[in-house]
Amino acid sequence: MILPAGEPAPTLFEARDLSLSFGGVKAVRDVSFEIRRGEVFSIIGPNGAGKTTIFNLINRIYDADAGTMSFNGEDMSRVPGHRVAELGITRTFQNTELFDRATVLENLLIGRHVHRRTNLVAECLFLPSARRQEVAFRSYAEQIIDLLDLQASRDQMAGALPYGTRKVVEIARALCAEPQLLLLDEPSSGLNPEESEDLAFWIEDISADLGVTIAMVEHDMNLVTTVSNRVMAMADGAAITTGTPSDVQNHPEVLRAYLGDFEGSDVPGEREGAPLARKEPSAGEREGEPLARKEPSAGEREGAPLARKEQCEGEPLANKEPPTVEH
């Protein structure tokens, strides 16, 4: 999302000196970072850098050995795992974890579980309160289905869906909880280029229309530079640097983490283009507009994504202005 200039947005999530070891392996070492409200925050790094472990720590799947986490200013270092969604943090998984023997709609309705207000007796008798809640759940799930264009797979079993759709359903399910912070664990892995491009639009939609803050672990630098406001690079469990996508891309430590030591590579900026951004404009061209994301050229935008954008207008979820369409 395009953040207003000037004052930085308030902090939504903050991690201080997080550390976690598995036996002798130090998966995360003294990592500190903050996620600001409304931004798209990406974590990049080579395999085994500890990116997903950070997510699992936020999600309270693992207990940190040291360090603290706070969400909305409140300490969440010892909150039980099932309460994390209630606080307003939901996530997707690197290797999709859908409820395979339930329909897409049921998957999304499970996403609304944190909003359950009925008890077992009311549910067994399906009292009017339970019916009202169900109808409200449905209508919210339908809005997410419309936003992410899942109408066609609405009643299909999640286990039978193609991989790309499964990824989107997972995002939809996480959104159904109405989170404040959405954690996306490698959303584009396994997607084809067209699906990746759609994903970039959806991430922008989610950020702009729903006002959801997004934290993302991602390898696809194209996607990262397109949608992120800030990027944190990690290697060997430690945070190397945090900054704008272009700053991080050209950071010497980051290049070393990805590419190793090159002879004569002391001044990476002098090399032809930035190695991580093959299709990106070079660093020089991007200077002066660190927050402005690369807008795909008109040619790239032709095709399916435009149709979706138009559908989103007049969307009941759009409490803010509808996304702009550039023709």
């Binding site: 395979d100 023997r101 579980h113 169900e134 339908e142």
Partner: protein, 358 residues
């Protein structure tokens, strides 16, 4: 093929999707109510047994088919419900109190059994519940002052308005009502957040938790609800057999219940009814077959258990969706008749859990 135009979300929430379904279920209800008029007492009694199997089957289906927790100890819940009810009736507690107390007590025991289940899945849980079943059987055999031990105890048959549950026609309508209410409650649960939480726990614990499902509470609830249904079936069974003895609740009963949910079709309430009919009539079929088969096979003691096991394996291999799954296939064949293609229901390769990398 029927296409339903959905115009409001309430329609999606309804138990019946369209008037065709309402018509067929109403017809089924009329048939079930009218059946005793045309049947003699023996067949009515057999139908009562099918209803009792179905009520217990709802319980096990919620646990195995929807929450993914396997139990080989459900005969114990059946026994607890039956004995608790009979003992309370023996102390002069009125039926209207003793039945709910028996069900609540079974649910409580179920919740307690569910606690160790928080740490166990699959075959370990099956063995733990099997051990639980043995413990309950041991208690029943040795707590003679209350349960009558191996001699057993007779079940007092209370009367209301001159009607006794010992009469199979009265028991028929009573069990039919209980089954209908049970199916209604289970269907309601499954279209509500808690029922979907069961499904979430079954399919992926890690993402269930990340969506805010309290794993421990959900599993304990599943065990408690499952035990409550099975205990309710125990209450009915006490009146059906009239005399409780430990040999009415054995491992074989547990296996029959498991057979019921697997053969019926895991993960469907229709499957419970199909499975109950199957399990209810299978012993009769086996008994008839004994007369026909050559004596070397027909006279094998314990033939039932072998046949149950064989059927269980055959269904798991050839029709994992059970009788209900088979029915769905037949129905879609009928509805698409000339256009049906053989590959429609070919099992597709999907992303199995074991193939994923974590």
């Amino acid at each position: 093929m029927r296409f339903v135009l959905t115009t409001h979300y309430g329609q999606d929430v309804n138990l019946f999707r369209h008037n065709g379904q309402r018509f067929w279920y109403a017809l089924l209800a009329v048939g079930a109510v009218a059946a005793p008029l045309f049947l003699n007492a023996f067949y009515v009694g057999e139908l009562v047994l099918v209803f009792i199997w179905a009520v217990a089957g709802i319980g096990l289906m919620l646990l195995v088919g929807y929450t993914g927790l396997v139990s080989l100890g459900h005969a114990a819940f059946l026994a607890i419900g039956a004995y608790c009810h009979a003992v309370l009736l023996g102390y002069g507690v009125p039926f209207a109190l003793s039945a709910p107390i028996a069900v609540a007590f079974t649910a409580l025991v179920g919740a307690l059994v569910g606690i160790p289940a928080l740490r166990m899945t699959g075959v370990y849980l099956a063995i733990a519940t099997l051990a639980f079943e043995r413990i309950v059987a041991y208690v029943i055999e040795h707590w003679e002052p209350v349960t009558g031990g191996l001699r057993g105890m007779s079940v007092p048959q209370p009367e209301f308005f001159g009607l006794s549950l010992a009469d199979s026609y009265v028991l028929y309508y009573f069990s039919l009502g209980v089954l209908a209410a049970g199916l209604f409650a289970a269907a309601n649960l499954l279209r509500s957040p808690m029922g979907r939480a069961f499904i979430a726990v079954r399919d992926s614990e890690i993402s269930a938790e990340s969506m805010g499902v309290h794993l421990a509470r959900t599993k304990t609830t599943a065990f408690a609800v499952s035990a409550a249904f099975t205990g309710l079936a125990g209450v009915l069974l006490a009146h059906r057999i009239g005399y409780l003895a430990p040999d009415a609740f054995t491992v074989q009963t547990s296996i029959q219940l498991l057979l019921l949910v697997v053969v019926g079709g895991l993960g469907s309430l229709h499957g419970v009814v199909f499975g109950a009919i199957f399990v209810g009539y299978l012993p009769q079929v086996i008994a008839l077959a004994r007369d026909v088969l050559p004596s070397a096979v027909g006279q094998i003691p314990g033939l039932e258990l072998g046949v149950f096991g064989a059927i269980l394996v055959l269904f798991l291999v050839f029709e994992p969706l059970g009788l209900y799954g088979r029915w769905l296939k037949i129905r879609s064949w009928l509805s698409q008749f000339p256009l049906y293609r053989k590959a429609t229901h070919k099992r597709q390769k999907s992303y199995l859990r074991t193939e994923r990398v974590h």
